[in-house]
Amino acid sequence: MNKTETVNISRRSFVEKSATAAAALTIAPGVFLNQVHAKPAAQAVTDAKRWGLLIDTAKCASGCTSCVSACFEENGIASHGRPLTDQQWIRKVKLKDKLTDHIVSLPVLCQHCENPPCVDVCPTGASFKRDDGIVLVDRHICIGCRYCMMACPYKARSFAHEVVDATVDYQPRGKGTVESCTMCVHRVDVDRIPACVEACADAEHGAMIFGDLKDPQSEISKQLVKHGGTQLRADLGLNTGVRYRGI
C-alpha cells in the first residue's frame, strides 16, 4: 500500500461523505418539517394519522389515464378484455354539470370513508377500516357474497370474476373475492405515496395530493384549508378520506 493510494482512498471517502451530507441536507428539511418517520415494520398503525387524498379537478387532464395505468401496473391487474367483469380500482370519469354545462374530469376510486357502508354490511368482517383510515378487504375471510358491492355508494368495489395468476407478491388477489383500491397500503406502510399520485406527478399534472388529514402541517391539510374541498355524496355523512376540488 503506497502513499498515493492512501490519499486517493481518503479523498474518495471525503467526497462520499460530503455528498451524503449534501443529500441529507436537501432531504432533511422536508423530512423534519413534515415529521415523516419511516414506520418501523413491527409497529402497528394507529389512528394518530388519517390518510387522505385531495384531487384537484382543474388540474386533472381530460384524456389522461396515468393514474389508472399506474394502479393496474402497481397491483398486477391485467385486463381480460371484458370491461364489464374486469377489475377497476380507479377510473376516470368525465362529467357535465346539468345547470351550468361546465365539464370536469376526475378519477373515482374507493373513498376510504370514515363510516364506510361496505364495512357495516360485510357479514364476516372481511371489509374493514384500518386504524389509520384506509379501508381494506381482508381476502382471507372474504366469502365473495358481494354485499359490499351493493352497499358502496361509489361503486368502488370489484369482484374477481376469474382466476388470478399473481405477478406481484405485495398485493395478493384471487378469484372469488372482492377487492378495491387499497390506497397502496403496501407503499404507505413504508413511507411512500400511492402509485396513482406518483403517476399523476410524473405526468406533470399534479392533480392528486396524498397526505395525513390529521396533521395540520401536511400539504393536503394546508391545501384543504386554503382552497376547500368537497366529498362525493356528502349528504350520506360518510366523511370520506378522498376529497375533490372543483366539483
Partner: protein, 407 residues
C-alpha cells in the same frame, strides 16, 4: 272433531320414483352449474361488477321468503289457536324447512368462495344484517325442527304451542332481516326504505301459502287421500287476502317513491320503461301485477270458479311466477339503475358504467342453479312425507270440520 291420523305415504309407486328422479336431475344440474361457475370464475355468468346479484339470488330470496310464509299455517293453528289448521301444521313445518334448504343451497353455492362457508359461520360482524340473517336461518332450522318434533311426538304435543310461538317470533325476525338486506342499502335509489321489512313479511305470507296449497293439493291428489272443500276454501280465501295485501304494499312503496323528486328517475325506469328499463317495466306490469296478482285474484274470488281445484292450483302457480317476477324487479331492476354518485351532473364518459343503465341477461348456469334449488326443496318435501307422518290420512270435510256447512 274426529282424531286426525298422521300417516306417512307409501312412496313406492312409479310416479313417486319418477318425481324423485326428475327433481334429482334438476339438483344435479344445479351442482354441475356450481362446478362450472366456481372453476371458471363468475365471468361465465350474466353477473358482473354492475349487477352483482342475479338469477340465483332471485330464486334464493324467493325461496327464503316463501319458507317463512309457509310456516304461517302452523302458526295460525298454534299461536292463534284455529282448530281447522291444526292437521295442516306438520306439513307446514316441513314445507318451511324444505324451502329454506333450497334457498340457502342456492345462496351458498353462488358465493365467490363457497369453500369458505365455515368462515361465514365463525366470523361474525354483528353490525351486518347479513350476519344476523345467517344466525336467523340456522336458528330457524333448529326452532322449526323442534316445533315439528313436538307436534309429531305424542309425549311432547302439549308443548307444541310454546314451540309454535317461538317459531312465529323467529320467522318474523327472519323475514324482517331478509327484507332489511335491501332496506338497509342507503346508497341505492331502489332500496333504502324501511318498508322493505314489512313488505317482505307480507310477500312471505302470499308466496308461502301459495306453495303450501300447491304441495297440499298435489300430495293428496297423487296419493289418493281425501282433501275436503272446507280446508281448501279456507286456504283459498286466506290467499286472496294476502295477495291483496301485497298489492297494497307495492302501491305504497311506489307512491312514496314518486313523491320524492330525487327518486323520479328510478320510478320512470321501472314503471314506464324509460332509459332502457323496458324489460323491467314489462316484468313489473305484466309479470308481477297482471299475471302475479290481478289474474289470481280474479281466479280466487270469481263466483263461478269458487270450488274448482284446478283454477286454484293455476292461481297459485301464477302467484309463484309473479313472486319471482317481483324479486327480479327488486333485485335486478334495483341494480340495473345506476348509482347517483354525482347529483346534478351528467356522466359523459366512464369506463366503469357510471351513470349508465346496466343490462343483464341470465346465463344458463344461473337459471339451472336457481331451478335446482327449487327442486331440492321439493325433494325434501317428497322425501319427508314418505319418511314421517306429516300428512293426515284424510282431510275430508267430516274429519277436518264436522260442523261446517257445505258451501
Amino acid at each position: 272433531m274426529k282424531k286426525i291420523h298422521l300417516q306417512p305415504i307409501d312412496g313406492n309407486s312409479t310416479g313417486y320414483l319418477a318425481l324423485i328422479a326428475i327433481l334429482g336431475a334438476f339438483v344435479l344440474g344445479a351442482l354441475g352449474s356450481t362446478l362450472y361457475m366456481e372453476h371458471n370464475g363468475h365471468w361465465v355468468t350474466g353477473m358482473d361488477n354492475q349487477i352483482v346479484w342475479g338469477m340465483p339470488h332471485v330464486f334464493a330470496v324467493f325461496l327464503i321468503v316463501a319458507a317463512s310464509g309457509a310456516l304461517n299455517v302452523a302458526s295460525i293453528s298454534s299461536v292463534f289457536q284455529k282448530k281447522l289448521y291444526k292437521p295442516l301444521a306438520p306439513l307446514s313445518t316441513l314445507v318451511a324447512l324444505a324451502l329454506l334448504t333450497g334457498g340457502l343451497m342456492i345462496l351458498v353455492l353462488d358465493l365467490g368462495r363457497p369453500d369458505r362457508l365455515i368462515v361465514a359461520m365463525t366470523y361474525y360482524n354483528f353490525k351486518s344484517i347479513f350476519a344476523w340473517n345467517m344466525i336467523l336461518y340456522n336458528g330457524f332450522f333448529v326452532i322449526v325442527g323442534v316445533y315439528a318434533w313436538f307436534m309429531l311426538d305424542r309425549t311432547m304435543k302439549k308443548y307444541s304451542r310454546y314451540a309454535g310461538i317461538a317459531a312465529f317470533v323467529w320467522r318474523i325476525a327472519l323475514t324482517t332481516g331478509t327484507g332489511s338486506i335491501f332496506g338497509f342499502l342507503v346508497a341505492r335509489t331502489a332500496y333504502d326504505m324501511a318498508m322493505f321489512a314489512p313488505m317482505f313479511i307480507i310477500m312471505s305470507f302470499s308466496f308461502g301459502l301459495a306453495i303450501f296449497i300447491l304441495v297440499l293439493m298435489a300430495s293428496y291428489n297423487w296419493t289418493g287421500r281425501e282433501l275436503g272443500d272446507v280446508v281448501v276454501n279456507r286456504l283459498r280465501k286466506l290467499l286472496g287476502v294476502f295477495v291483496m295485501a301485497v298489492l297494497y304494499f307495492v302501491f305504497v312503496y311506489h307512491i312514496s317513491n314518486l313523491y320524492a323528486t330525487e327518486h323520479h328517475g328510478f320510478e320512470a325506469f321501472l314503471l314506464l320503461g324509460d332509459n332502457g328499463g323496458e324489460s323491467y317495466s314489462n316484468i313489473f306490469w305484466i309479470g308481477q301485477i297482471l299475471i302475479g296478482s290481478l289474474i289470481p285474484l280474479a281466479m280466487i274470488y270469481a263466483p263461478g270458479v269458487a270450488n274448482c281445484r284446478k283454477t286454484l292450483a293455476l292461481a297459485c302457480l301464477l302467484i309463484v311466477f309473479g313472486g319471482l317476477a317481483q324479486m327480479y324487479t327488486i333485485i335486478i331492476g334495483g341494480q340495473a339503475y345506476p348509482l347517483d354518485i354525482f347529483p346534478g351532473m351528467e356522466v359523459l364518459e366512464s369506463t366503469f358504467s357510471d351513470g349508465m343503465v346496466s343490462h343483464y341477461s341470465a346465463s344458463l348456469p344461473e337459471v339451472l342453479l336457481g331451478l335446482g334449488g327449487f327442486a331440492m326443496s321439493l325433494i325434501v318435501i317428497a322425501f319427508g312425507v314418505k319418511v314421517l307422518g306429516f300428512l293426515p290420512e284424510s282431510l275430508a270435510d267430516s274429519v277436518a270440520d264436522p260442523h261446517a256447512k257445505a258451501e
